[in-house]
């Protein structure tokens, strides 16, 4: 297992190299200029040129690439053109809300999705099954921002139950933090839960038709024991892949939800950086997300080994 883990970690390097190169090339080929975006509409062309020289943006592209990669391998992702602070500082200042939102959303997604999938599968063809699947279909079809704006209008403005937008850092006011994150976490978690519910239902239906499940019932085991101890454990394995991917996606910053709910997280930073053409931040954040994605997939693979004794890594 240790050798397997080491091999997977080393395999991270070429992946990160490819991602880094791709994002650098794509951003610099995209029309738009960070300096013009920073200096505003009335910016004088001479001012723009001065700032470009000051920031090194007038250098040939290959030189900018080499200089940037040279810093990245040393763990230095450069400095934000707009914020004028190190990229890692900008990300670390914003990671807390993104992490909390992700954890809350994934808890909700799993907490809603798996039970819904199990109920649908065990009551296949009934009203409950159809109800959950219609809701799941609606959830999958619904744009996050649409759900978010409607929830703001209904829950925050009309009912006044929760705040409209914003964030309170976790500290002594953990309840306030929870209040501000409830609606955004629900938006994200609900939509992801529909994916998990559909996946869980499909896999459970397959597992419940297996011989050993029929044997369990024939032996006189309680139905709940058959479903939750035997069937669900096996159904979780493919579902875990979906959960892992969901977590990685949410770690990417839940871009839309952070923007709608005004959460100062990594996702919102990325959106603003794209609009401002803040190349170092875009490149740095995308690299970090790619790294997180690969590591989470590795964790999912390791979890397989614990869930399924037939899986062995050498």
């Amino acid at each position: 297992m240790k050798e397997y883990l080491l091999r997977r970690l080393l395999a991270l390097l070429p992946v990160m190299f490819v991602v880094a190169t791709l994002v650098f090339v794509l951003m610099h080929l995209t029309p738009g200029d960070p300096v013009s975006a920073m200096l505003g509409m009335d910016a004088n062309p001479a001012d723009v040129e001065r700032m470009r020289v000051h920031l090194g943006l007038d250098k040939p592209l290959y030189l900018q690439y080499v200089q940037w990669m040279g810093k990245v391998v040393q763990g230095n992702f450069g400095e934000s053109i707009f914020l004028q602070i190190p990229v890692l500082t900008a990300v670390s200042e914003r990671i807390q809300p993104t992490l909390l939102l992700t954890l809350l959303a994934i808890s909700l997604a799993v907490g809603l999705g798996i039970p819904a999938g199990v109920i649908s599968a065990t009551r296949f063809g009934t009203f409950s099954d159809q109800f959950f699947m219609v809701v799941a279909l609606l959830g999958v079809s619904m744009p996050e921002f649409w759900l978010g704006l409607n929830l703001i209008f209904l829950v925050a403005v009309k009912l006044g139950w929760l705040p409209v937008a914003g964030y309170v850092p976790l500290g002594s006011h953990w309840l306030a933090t929870l209040r501000y994150l409830t609606l955004p976490a629900f938006c994200l978690g609900f939509i992801q839960s529909t994916l998990i519910a559909r996946m869980t239902r499909a896999v459970m239906l397959d597992v419940l038709s297996q011989d050993y499940i029929r044997t369990g019932h024939a032996k006189g085991l309680a139905p709940s024991r058959v479903v939750y101890k035997h069937a669900l454990k096996n159904a979780l394995i493919p579902t875990l892949t979906v959960i892992g991917i969901t977590f990685a996606i949410l770690m990417g910053g839940a871009i839309v939800i952070e923007t709608v709910f005004n959460i100062p997280g990594v996702g919102r930073l990325l959106v603003q950086s794209v609009l401002r053409r803040d190349y170092p931040v875009i490149q740095g954040v995308v690299l970090l997300i790619a790294g997180a994605y690969v590591l989470i997939n590795l964790l999912v693979d390791v979890a397989y080994a614990y869930l399924d004794p037939r899986v062995k890594y050498v």
Partner: protein, 522 residues
């Protein structure tokens, strides 16, 4: 002794009644009287890159920084320059020496008294970094000196009427000399001003907070626009960046924010009748304009530009761009009616002609035969897109062949510097207090590239003329030239919308809405 209960009781009742009447009569006045206290939560469209407005930083920076920093001069309610940190302004030596007397006893937020050494250092930095100082002042300056602690002199090569208006803009604040010495030409990171509020903290993506500066020395005159007496009634102001407009508006409805800036006019009808919300029309604000590439291609031909102007019907364009009738105005004057010093209808006969027949004739004279016109627009600003779409429809009916290229704003800004990539783009101009400030399109080197000898002559004359009436007459000639030569087409005036809770009092709905002299009713 006989009891006097009846007469004593009657007297008491009478006294109570009189007191009740006095209290009831005074109640509205008491309710209106400003009360100190509270934190004002302002939802803004975004966050500035810095509060150092000596460098190009955008409108949000100016809007926030004006509470912390002050300049030597500012603008009154009619947008005319008036002293702020200065006590007076005069010229000597035939206009070649400007003498600025400073107010005494004004403190920076670090306790240091503001004096001429700070003013000289700030003016010198401005002349190196700030666009208007660099363009209109620095080339004409011989020296800036401080003959004594409360006097600044600016020595000029030739008389210029631009110095005072440039010093009145929101991008000309005074900083302590030691801060300038520390940061030189880099963005300052210590925000120490003389304003009614002092900087507290900046949590990136969360808020910028300022608090009342207890030792602020206000001017003695009554509030007058951005000038006169500035009072920090609220204890603190928190500027919260909320990029989504509907969330800013929802925050007012739910009580999350006290003021929400830059709201889409679409919200106006929804909130208009709500007694808990003030819907404020921000006027004057800006004007959209169509700008032609006069360096290369089709629109080097004046007749073709005149053809476009002839064909346009401005009202539907403004309606599409602005929304309801409260949010736009047909106006050919480059300056809005509120800017009384420069408002003129010179050239009006060319505006809003709606004359397709004339347009077709001019197109023929220009030799236009359906060549493609590349028109850049963006959906990032709704009104730019709506202006472009509506104008395109009208022009196509007149026979123009237009390719509307909808791009990201950063892309438009980049491409507009390349004359081989476009023929037309649409942009807007924020409020300008005086020609030619904030009218970048008047310059030869700004995208559009208007080369015109008569314009150069008139601008030079304008710069050197000090008599206000004569300056106005020269400006009228410039505006007439603009409508004849058509380097740009001003579409009309657009107004904005801001929302505030009904408990916020004292607001002046204007460009760069200030929050001094504002209080919270509790």
């Amino acid at each position: 002794m006989a009891k006097r209960t009846g007469s004593t009781g009657g007297l008491l009742v009478t006294l109570c009644s009189i007191l009740a009447i006095i209290v009831l009569a005074a109640a509205p006045a008491l309710a209106q009287a400003p009360r100190p206290g509270g934190t004002l939560r302002v939802a803004t469209i975004g966050e500035p890159p810095s509060l150092d407005t000596h460098l190009p930083t955008g409108i949000i920076a100016m809007s926030i920084a004006q509470h912390v920093f002050e300049g030597l001069f500012t603008l009154d309610k009619d947008f005319r320059p008036i002293p702020l940190l200065a006590e007076s302004y005069s010229v000597a030596d035939g206009g070649r020496r400007a003498v600025i007397k400073l107010r005494r006893g004004v403190q920076f937020h670090n306790g240091k008294e503001f004096s001429s050494e700070d003013a000289v250092a700030s003016l010198q930095r401005l002349m190196k970094l700030e666009y208007h100082f660099r363009s209109f002042i620095a080339p004409n300056v011989v020296d800036v000196r401080a003959p004594d602690r409360y006097t600044v002199e600016v020595l000029l090569k030739k008389p210029s009427s631009m110095l005072l208006p440039v010093m009145s803009t929101a991008t000309a604040p005074m900083y302590p000399k030691e801060v300038i010495d520390e940061f030189k030409e880099e963005r300052i990171k210590k925000f120490i001003g003389t304003g009614p509020f002092e900087f507290v903290e900046w949590r990136p993506d969360r808020y910028i907070e300022v608090k009342r500066f207890e030792k602020y020395l206000a001017r003695p005159e009554a509030p007058n626009g951005y000038g006169g007496k500035r009072t920090a009634f609220v204890d603190r102001i928190r500027f919260i960046p909320v990029p989504d407009g509907s969330v800013r508006a929802a925050g007012i409805e739910s009580g999350e924010y006290d003021v929400a800036e830059d709201i889409s006019p679409d919200f106006y009808t929804r909130v208009k009748g709500n007694p808990g919300i003030q819907a404020m029309i921000i006027k004057p604000l800006a004007y959209p304009f169509i700008i032609f590439n006069k360096k290369e291609g089709l629109f080097t031909n004046t007749k073709l530009r005149q053809a476009v102007l002839a064909a346009l019907d401005m009202e539907p364009i403004l309606q599409a761009a602005g929304g309801g009738k409260e949010f736009f105005g047909l106006n050919n004057s480059i300056y809005q009616p509120e800017i009384k010093a420069w408002y003129t209808t010179a050239g009006k006969e060319h505006y809003d002609q709606k004359n397709v027949v004339l347009a077709k004739q001019l197109m023929k004279e220009a030799g236009y035969s359906g060549q493609l016109i590349r028109w850049m627009a963006t959906k990032q600003y709704d009104w730019i897109y709506n202006t472009s779409l509506t104008a395109k429809t009208q022009l196509e009916k007149a026979g123009f062949n237009i390719d509307l290229q909808v791009l990201e704003w950063s892309t438009v800004i980049q491409r507009r510097t390349k004359p081989d990539l476009w023929e037309i783009f649409v942009t807007f101009n924020s409020l300008s207090p005086e020609p030619p400030l904030y009218q970048a399109w008047l310059a030869k080197d700004w995208p559009g590239w208007w080369e015109n000898g008569q314009r150069d002559e008139l601008l030079a004359k304008f710069d050197q003329e000090s008599d206000p009436k004569k300056r106005f007459a020269i400006w009228e000639d410039i505006q007439k030239l603009i409508w004849e030569e058509v380097p740009i087409i001003k579409v009309g005036d657009l107004n904005g919308l801001a929302l505030a809770s009904a408990k916020v009092k004292g607001l002046w709905p204007t460009y760069l809405m200030p929050y001094y002299n504002v209080w919270l009713e509790r």
